[in-house]
């Protein structure tokens, strides 16, 4: 076997004495896509951050083309040809596409001035080469998330990056954008670029990855060719245990109507939305990005109230003007963006769990710490939240565990209707199943769930009934045998 493009071995890293990574190992061949697989807290992010120079390793070595390298900062990694595309590495939204691509290495005029014309021309040429139909002078902030990602990829290529790390690149984009991304990945492979690819979506890995490396509990487990491992063995190796059925579904919709929405509308986001929700039901809402599905949930929760139409909850008029109104009526809302709108990232697990029910842990406006512990502790057990203590800041947790903290926060308000927007985004396979099981358990008796998702298998697997949104309107409703991928795609596009 020839020298790998990138080889890392024995990488270790601890945070205040707590090891996050004990033996990270990865060998990437040029012109291939390498899937890095692992569950919550497997150490994937830590390994990638070490490779990128964001974190400094405690032990081990990294080689590029067989030569040992050391990156004191991400800048050094970039100079050596390693780039990372993730949701965290934010571009500059107020600059143009071209300015973002050449950020930090703008073509110069007389050594000091930025040569805007040359920069734009070079950017246009690069975008053409990549078959990206994006205007070089558009403001980056005006683009969709998928297009921004494409710009990040263009930037990586323009730096002659030979190793590109993609951390959950499809978690925020739709099916069509995913196809564009994969096409770009194929072109990168043809150029000899090596790609380290992290995704919790198995289908994607089987589609584009050549090799895989599995990590668990901060340690390298095994590596091999994607063609040699089947889906079942991949999942069980990632989890380290056998799995129950994926969509553990045992709720059953009843006859009573819990919620009726009549002719809801708001601005240009959505209009003429009428639907009902039965007790015991999991109602799926499917739609592409911008179809109005999240905006509709915002309205039901009073976060951005509806301007037209009406709603009835258990027969009584329901008109939420702010989240507090919806919460008092027994509605809880897990948003799609847990970092931005679900959690206080710097605060502890305990404080996040009680965030929506602070009065519950207080008497006469005085916080009672014992009550707070008593509230938070049972959720750790019930939702299997992995944490060393309740005082651990949630930003140190993996995506799946963070999502469970959000769920705990809302369960504490004892809701009867749960609005879940992309409940498993950025969550690993194991935690996904736990969340599915939790959903089934929740949607019983006089409780119900409205869930949106852009993952078709999840929508089909978990919903009793699906309403499809297209361009702010309901384009169809599917039950029973009509619940197929073809129907969802047809109605949504």
């Amino acid at each position: 076997m020839s020298t790998p493009l990138l080889h890392a071995e024995g990488i270790a890293k601890s945070f205040s004495g707590v090891p996050a990574l004990t033996n990270g190992q990865l060998s990437l061949r040029a012109g291939t896509v390498h899937a890095l697989c692992g569950g919550n807290g497997a150490g994937k992010s830590t390994l990638l951050n070490v490779l990128m120079g964001i974190l400094q390793r405690d032990a081990g070595y990294v080689q590029i083309d067989g030569r040992e390298v050391n990156f004191p900062s991400p800048h050094d990694a970039l100079d050596t040809g390693i780039a990372m595309i993730s949701q965290e590495l934010e571009p500059v939204p107020d600059m143009t596409v071209a300015e973002n691509i050449f950020l930090g290495r703008e073509p110069r005029l007389m050594g000091a001035l930025v040569d805007h014309r040359r920069m734009r021309l070079q950017a246009e040429q690069l975008l053409r080469e990549l078959e990206l139909h994006l205007p070089a002078n558009a403001r980056l902030g005006s683009l969709s998330i998928a297009d921004m990602q494409m710009v990040e990829i263009a930037r990586a290529i323009s730096r002659d990056a030979r190793v590109i790390i993609m951390d959950e690149p499809t978690s925020a984009i739709g099916e069509r954008e995913t196809e564009l991304l994969f096409a770009a990945v194929e072109r990168l492979k043809a150029r000899g670029t090596g790609i380290i690819y992290v995704s919790h979506r198995m289908n994607e890995l089987y589609r584009i990855a050549d090799d895989y490396t599995i990590m668990r509990d901060g340690t390298f487990i095994e590596t091999g060719a994607m063609a040699d491992i089947d889906r079942h063995r991949l999942i069980t190796t990632v989890l380290g245990k056998e799995l129950d059925e994926e969509y553990a579904k045992y709720n059953r919709p009843g006859a009573d109507t819990l919620l009726e929405v009549d002719d809801y509308g708001r601005g240009k986001d959505f209009e003429r939305v009428s639907l009902d929700l039965k007790a015991g039901e999991i109602l799926g809402i499917f739609g592409l990005m911008g179809s109005g599905r999240s905006e509709f949930l915002d309205a039901l929760f009073g976060a951005a109230p509806a301007e037209r139409g009406s709603a009835r909850l258990r027969g009584a008029p329901f008109q939420p003007r702010e989240p507090g109104d919806a919460m008092r009526a027994g509605i809880a809302y897990v948003t799609e963006d847990r970092k931005g709108s679900g959690l206080v990232m710097g605060a502890s697990i305990k404080r996040n769990v009680t965030l929506a029910s602070i009065p519950d842990v207080a008497r006469n406006s005085l916080i009672h710490e014992g009550m707070e512990d008593a509230v938070a502790t049972p959720f750790v057990e019930r939702l299997q939240i992995k944490a060393s203590s309740l005082d651990m800041p949630v930003k140190q947790m993996s995506g799946g565990n963070q999502q469970k903290v959000v769920l705990a926060k809302w369960l504490q308000t004892q809701p009867s209707i749960l609005l879940l927007d992309e409940p498993t985004r950025g969550v690993d396979v194991g935690a996904k199943r736990e969340i599915y099981a939790f959903m089934s358990e929740f949607a019983r008796d006089d409780r119900a769930i409205i869930m949106t998702s852009s993952e078709i298998p999840e929508v089909l697997g978990m919903s009793d009934r699906v309403i499809v949104f297209r361009k702010g309107r309901i384009s169809g409703e599917l039950h029973g045998d009509e619940l197929t991928q073809e129907n969802l795609v047809r109605l949504s596009s």
């Binding site: 945070f15 205040s16 004495g17 707590v18 380290g240 245990k241 929760f301 976060a303 702010e322 989240p323 507090g324 919460m327 809302y333 948003t335 931005g340 709108s341 679900g342 959690l343 206080v344 990232m345 710097g346 605060a347 404080r351 965030l355 929506a356 602070i358 009065p359 207080a362 406006s365 005085l366 916080i367 502790t377 750790v380 057990e381 299997q384 939240i385 992995k386 944490a387 060393s388 203590s389 309740l390 005082d391 926060k409 308000t413 194991g430």
Partner: protein
């Protein structure tokens, strides 16, 4: 299954213990710094540890201390209040105008009106920031100028002096050997500490600063909390106004210029993050004390006030730098 559930239960272990130690250092590193500073000063100046000198330091810091406590509330919500010095001057002027010896007003009148003047301006800040979404920096920068203007208009640019002895007691009196301003500062500190640590309001303040969107979607009335912190800051400016007029025996229209900078400095040295949601009132207390002790120490050593400014500025930067490096090490 066994594997998952065993690791799911929180455990008290060695790592927990270590977290507690690093937690202690990050909470109380500032106290260590303060003690080191005191030790150095007591070595280089024999007068430093004298009871009179220490009381003098406390008396000097009490006004900045009261302002810095209000500032801590504001900064915890990701805000800033640049108008504290001007609001204090206005409150001092209003109070003094009702406290002159021959006015014949009972003491309660200037006290109430002084506090009310500060509170009213703070409420204006609060409404504009919370209700009309004016950025705090802009709103309070405007108020810095407006409150100063009001002070000049109200006083016609003239100081108000010959204040009644009962009013002066607030700034110059003693209770069991402790200066009254120090007692007021201590009382405000205790109240603020208790509020932030034990009340639901305190919890809301941290939540709003930590992530306003998440706080709002969790049913917290974010604009009400935001309004309240500016009102609190204004009210404390009112109290500081009473204290400064009583201590200097006069209300001066130019009093308190640039006081906002010392208040912000104390909060920042105390480890409260300008990004909001993180910080402690105990940190602010020691930030205030560190600034006071440095000023006092440099005075005792006969260093010119020009150099004092230089040193104070450098210390702010170094304090934040140490804070950063400590955070990145953990």
């Amino acid at each position: 299954m066994n594997q998952a559930s065993s690791s799911a239960t929180p455990t008290t272990s060695a790592t927990d213990h270590r977290n507690r130690i690093t937690g202690f250092l990050s909470d109380y590193g500032i106290i260590v710094a303060f003690i080191v500073l005191c030790v150095i000063l007591s070595v280089v100046s024999p007068y430093f540890l004298g009871v009179n000198n220490l009381l003098n330091v406390l008396r000097q810091v009490s006004i900045n201390g009261v302002l810095a406590i209000g500032m801590t509330f504001v900064i915890l919500t990701r805000g800033i209040d640049l108008s504290v010095g001007s609001m204090m001057a206005f409150a001092a002027m209003v109070a003094a105008s009702f406290a002159v010896v021959d006015s014949g007003m009972p003491l309660i009148v200037p006290l109430t009106l002084g506090l009310a003047a500060g509170l009213a301006l703070g409420c204006v800040n609060g409404v504009m920031v919370a209700r009309f979404a004016i950025p705090p920096f802009v709103m309070t920068l405007g108020m810095l100028s407006m409150a100063r203007g009001l002070t000049y208009i109200y006083s016609d640019g003239m100081p108000i002096s010959s204040l009644s002895p009962s009013f002066l007691w607030l700034g110059q009196g003693m209770v069991v050997g402790i200066p009254v301003p120090v007692i007021l500062f201590a009382a405000v500190f205790m109240l603020a500490w208790f509020t932030l640590r034990y009340t639901t309001f305190g919890r809301y303040v941290y939540a709003v600063g930590g992530n306003p969107t998440a706080a709002r979607l969790s049913g917290i009335k974010v604009s009400r909390i935001t309004f309240s912190v500016y009102a609190i800051s204004g009210l404390l400016c009112g109290l500081a106004g009473l204290m400064i007029a009583a201590r200097t025996s006069a209300a001066l229209p130019q009093a308190g210029v640039a006081y906002e900078l010392d208040a912000i400095a104390a909060v920042v040295i105390g480890g409260t993050s300008l990004a909001g949601g993180k910080g402690r009132i105990v940190g602010t207390l020691f930030g205030v004390l560190i600034i006071g002790v440095i000023n006092n120490g440099l005075d005792l050593l006969g260093v010119s006030s020009f150099y004092q400014q230089l040193v104070k500025g450098a210390i702010i930067v170094v304090a934040v730098m140490l804070d950063r490096s400590r955070l990145s090490n953990t």
